[in-house]
Each structure stands twice: as C-alpha cells, then as structure tokens.
C-alpha cells in the first residue's frame, strides 16, 4: 500500500515548464524561421477590423430601431457595413405601401396577420394594439430622434448595403418588387459567414 503514496512524486515532470516551451519554440523556429519583424497586432486591428455585418433577424420595433441606428452610424463613421436581412427582418425592407405579400394563401395570410413595412413595426413589450409604438414615435418626435425609416434611408445614402436572404424570400414568397429600392442581390448564409471569416464584425439583431 505504500506504493500509492509514492506514485505522485514520480509523475511530476523533472524539467520546469519554461525550458520545455523554449525547446518547442526553438523547434518551431527551426522549421518556420524566426519572424522578421515584431508583430504589431493593435495597429493591424485598427486598420483592418472596421467592417460590420449586421444580421437583421428581428422585425420588432425596438430591435429594428437598434439595427438601423447602428447601420446608419456605421455609415457615418466611414465603416464598410452590410445589413443581411433575414426572416422577420424582411418586414423592415418590404415597402410600407405593400399590404399583402406572398404567392400562396398561407404566405398571404401571414402578411395579413402581420403588416409588413418598417413604419408598421410592433413592440415586443407593451404594444397594446399599437398604443405602445404610437407613444414611442411621439416621444421620438418630441426629442427629435430619427425614426427607423429615416435611419434606414440615411444608412442607404451613406453606402450601407442591405442584402436579402434568398431562403426567406422563397419561404414567405417575397418578390424583389416587394422590397424597397437599392437592395443588393439575394444571397445565402455562406456569404455572411464568408464576411465573418474575412474579419467582418457580426451583429445579430
């Protein structure tokens, strides 16, 4: 039984960790060569990672507001910014004047139940059949806050690109003519993930 007591002391590595890593670093340097200049990660990050991709998934008024506010500010900051419109986000980019969208009765029914258009968004809390948004818009007017619709138009004018999701367009039977002017070609998730791989900062709203 005395063996079990002695065992831990035998498994402790004989050499300190530091020297092991030194040996590893020397081995890597042998294979890859030493770096020529000292890396400057902070400067690189400052100049490269200033692209933003907002994945606009929600169609609730407060989230739409946040997405459009960030998009327009990104445009004003000179950042390259794209807004990927998917699922309920489509309700933000369907023309306000469009009442019914969809090809079959189910798609049409969905648009009837939930009126599309950025000016017709509902609050996720305290909507009270439109009373909540009415008050929010009134307060926004009082404090001279830009509305989501204004922010979206500003974002577009500042070069922010709105790109629709092909899969959602098919699912809801949304046509290109239903969407606001100036939208990009419909794309898929791979395009967005490709941007993220390139170093674009993603926001999921």
């Amino acid at each position: 039984m005395t063996l079990t007591v002695e065992r831990p002391t035998e498994t402790v590595p004989a050499s300190p960790v530091g020297t092991e890593l030194d040996a590893l670093a020397a081995a890597i340097a042998d294979v890859e060569g030493l770096p020529e200049t000292a890396p400057q990660p902070i400067e690189a990050a400052k100049t490269e990672l200033h692209n933003l991709v907002i994945i606009n998934y929600s169609g609730e008024l407060e989230k739409t507001w946040a997405a459009m506010l960030l998009a327009s500010t990104a445009g004003a900051m000179g950042m390259q910014c794209k807004v990927f419109i998917t699922f309920w986000g489509f309700q933000n980019v369907i023309k306000d004047s469009k009442r019914i969208t969809g090809r079959n009765w189910m798609q049409k029914m969905m648009s009837v139940l939930q009126r599309p258009g950025i000016s017709h968004r509902k609050l996720s809390k305290m909507d009270f059949l439109g009373m909540g948004p009415w008050m929010v818009y009134r307060l926004a007017k009082q404090y001279k806050d830009a509305t989501p619709k204004e922010l979206m138009e500003i974002a577009q004018s500042l070069g922010v690109e709105f790109i629709p999701c092909q899969m959602t367009m098919d699912l809801f039977g949304i046509q290109r003519t239903d969407l606001i002017d100036g939208m990009g070609e419909p794309v898929g998730a791979a395009t967005v993930l490709g941007l993220i791989q390139e170093g674009w900062t993603p926001l999921f709203i």
């Binding site: 200033h50 506010l69 327009s72 500010t73 445009g75 004003a76 900051m77 000179g78 950042m79 404090y143 001279k144 806050d145 830009a146 922010l151 500003i154 004018s157 500042l158």
Partner: protein, 78 residues
C-alpha cells in the same frame, strides 16, 4: 476666437444620437481635403461621440468648446 476659415456649418442643435454624427458625415463629404467644418450640437453624448468619430474617420478635431448647452466642434477634413 479663431482664424480658421470655416467652409461649411452643420447645425445639429436639438438632434439626438446619431443624427449629429450623421449630419456631419453628410456635410463633410462634398468638402475639399483640409477644409474646415463647424458643428453645433446640444446632445451631451456628442462630446465623446465626435472624438470617437474623428479618430475612426481620420478627420482632425481642431477645436472643441462648450457654450452653455451648445457644444461646438471644429473639424478639418482628412
């Protein structure tokens, strides 16, 4: 107070975030590099916002002052 020749002025008084920045970005666009733009705001948040905006866009924040509730920024276009 200043001898700088102001090429354009943005009056963003009464507007709230992010409109002062947005209006400035729109106002500075048609100017020549090196031209000066003057911005007036009343949004307290704009004090820090304009510093951040200038740092991020590369435009130079030449002057920053407060007169009562009005904030004044003088910016040189990159």
């Amino acid at each position: 107070m200043t001898t700088l020749e102001i090429a354009a002025q943005v009056d963003a008084r009464g507007l709230s975030c992010p409109m002062p920045i947005v209006r400035t970005a729109q106002g500075i666009k048609p100017l020549q590099p090196g031209a000066i733009i003057e911005v007036l705001t009343t949004d307290p948040g704009s004090q820090k916002d304009f510093v951040a905006w200038c740092r991020s866009t590369g435009n130079e924040l030449v002057e920053q002052s407060v007169d009562g509730a009005v904030y004044r920024f003088v910016i040189r276009r990159k």
